[in-house]
């Protein structure tokens, strides 16, 4: 256990190595909050209530989405792509540890790091320039926190999936180009899915992406009822179980392949 915690620590330190690398990602979060809330203000100038959601709720959605997004920034996919290209991935096997667990802890390190660096500044920025992002009902906070943690794990599993796919299909290059647009649109991190046409929503119901950002955010702004929230968190848990099993099997295959083909 100790070794995995140290891996986490190393990640945290390496991300603090360059000051510019701390400031600009933070700045980008500020920019996103401004962009999203500006758009919603424009849109809501004409109708005060859209799909049962008010402007303050929508602004809260945007702010909390940025907070959740700064927290859930994982690198496992890029890291695997990079190590594959460098041919160093096979060499990682000479350490007596579980590689997947070590990648998980690297990303937990990233998350802790992002939380420390970004959470408070972003919240302060939002409170000063936009509004205090209060939840609809304080009693849902524990459920919201649980849902965010499940969201983080789900996002990580999705990244791991694309990372392992990168190892198998290294000729296709960095598969982040597939993951990113999928997440950008289907996760509802920017424009919630209730704005999209019906067929699009039907498709997204059967994919895991919606259960990343949209679920905790909807719970937070009170878009979902209590039973609806519980059901959504349940579906998150189901997706995590399914993906965990799939990733375990996938990893066994990838490991075997690396052992035969080398890096």
């Amino acid at each position: 256990m100790n070794k995995y915690l140290y891996i986490m620590r190393i990640k945290i330190i390496s991300h603090l190595a360059y000051d510019i690398d701390v400031i600009f990602p933070l700045l980008l979060n500020f920019v996103w909050i401004i962009t999203m809330t500006s758009i919603w203000k424009y849109v809501y100038a004409q109708n005060p209530d859209i799909h049962g959601v008010s402007l303050p709720q929508m602004q809260t959605y945007a702010i909390v989405s940025t907070l959740v997004g700064c927290f859930c920034r994982h690198e496992v996919q890029e890291e695997l792509y990079y190590r594959m290209r460098q041919g160093t991935i096979a060499i990682d096997f000479i350490r007596p540890m579980n590689l997947v667990v070590s990648w998980l802890f690297e990303d937990i390190g990233n998350m802790v790091n992002n939380l420390l660096k970004n959470f408070v500044p972003i919240l302060l920025f939002a409170v000063i320039f936009i509004q205090v992002p209060l939840p609809q009902n304080l009693s849902i906070i524990p459920l919201f926190v649980l849902s965010v943690l499940l969201c983080a794990l789900l996002l990580w599993l999705i990244s791991l999936f694309f990372g392992l796919l990168t190892v198998v299909w290294v000729d296709f290059g960095n598969l982040g180009v597939i993951r990113d647009p999928l997440l950008k649109i289907m996760a509802g991190s920017f424009v919630p899915l209730w704005f999209f046409p019906g067929w699009f929503r039907k498709v997204s119901d059967w994919l895991p992406f919606k259960y990343t950002y949209q679920t905790p955010l909807s719970i937070y702004i009170g878009k979902l009822s209590m039973t609806g929230s519980l059901a959504a968190v349940g579906i998150q848990a189901v997706w995590i179980t399914v993906l965990c099993v799939c990733m375990y099997l996938f990893w066994q295959k990838v490991k075997k392949r690396l052992l035969i083909q080398g890096g």
């Binding site: 190595a17 360059y18 000051d19 510019i20 690398d21 400031i23 600009f24 990602p25 700045l27 980008l28 920019v31 996103w32 401004i34 962009t35 500006s38 758009i39 203000k41 424009y42 849109v43 004409q46 109708n47 859209i50 299909w169 000729d171 296709f172 290059g173 960095n174 598969l175 180009v177 597939i178 990113d180 647009p181 950008k184 649109i185 920017f190 424009v191 704005f195 999209f196 046409p197």
Partner: protein, 257 residues
């Protein structure tokens, strides 16, 4: 030039992947504009087709920038791992060398969806394409490409002064692609529009030219023709950025090994 093309063919499947998914980003952005504008009629006087014109124009200049100046995106990495040494060894103006190296056929993948969206918007808008309009368009394309390149040159040159793993460049990539050329600037509060016009002149890439073509008013009621402005601003900003890049180059320190 040939060199860039060749290394591209070395990873044909990667190219295939890009050909499929980079346009997805572009059309995804258009889908968002469509979703927003059809649900709420118009955004600040923009029709959906106006938005498509604006959005397509932005992607075309992005594509041109990627085709001709892609290397500036990698300045930080090259500085950080000492690869920039190689550039300085050529008996030529290092910046010129840098640019020559960056000719990037992959940019055609970026530019194609832009051309499709732009053409679609033009057909729907029934614009009058007389000689003046065409000249204006060319001026706007050149100006917009130069503004983008200038922004990335400044972002990259920061790496000469401070160690960074491309943070400023990555910031600018997102900032340009999603925050400032994907939505017209008049959605922003006044103060931010001032910054995006006079400090980082992204407004001239597509917001103001599109307003000019559409015959709309702009926030600042700038007296000169806006399309001509783009060209002038582009040249001035590029020269400024070039000066900064040269200045930064004097601070270049190689790596340990």
């Amino acid at each position: 030039m040939r060199c860039a093309v060749q290394s591209w063919f070395e990873y044909p499947l990667e190219m295939l992947c890009w050909i499929i998914f980079i346009p997805l980003y572009s059309f995804g952005g258009l889908l968002l504009l469509k979703v927003i504008s059809t649900q709420f009629s118009e955004i600040g006087g923009w029709t959906f087709h106006g938005l498509a014109f604006f959005y397509g124009l932005g992607i075309v200049t992005h594509g041109l920038h990627v085709i001709f100046f892609f290397a500036v995106w990698h300045t930080n990495y090259m500085v950080l791992n000492g690869e920039f040494d190689r550039i300085l060894l050529y008996p030529m103006n290092p910046f010129f060398m840098f640019i020559i190296q960056s000719f990037n056929i992959a940019g055609y993948i970026d530019i194609t969806p832009g051309i499709i969206i732009f053409t679609y918007a033009c057909l729907k808008l029934n614009l009058d394409w007389n000689a003046v309009a065409i000249l204006k368009l060319i001026a706007v394309l050149i100006g917009g490409t130069l503004i983008r390149t200038g922004i990335f040159m400044i972002a990259g040159a920061i790496g000469f002064f401070r160690d960074t793993r491309n943070a400023v460049t990555n910031f600018m990539v997102d900032f340009l692609a999603y925050n400032t050329t994907a939505f017209p600037l008049n959605i922003y509060p006044y103060g931010i529009q001032v910054i995006l016009t006079f400090l980082i002149p992204v407004g001239f890439i597509n917001t103001y030219p599109a307003q000019d073509f559409m015959g709309m008013d702009n926030t600042f009621s700038i007296p000169i023709n806006l399309s001509l402005c783009t060209l002038l601003v582009g040249i001035a900003f590029f020269l400024l950025a070039y000066g900064f890049f040269r200045f930064g180059l004097k601070h270049y320190k190689s790596t340990g090994s």
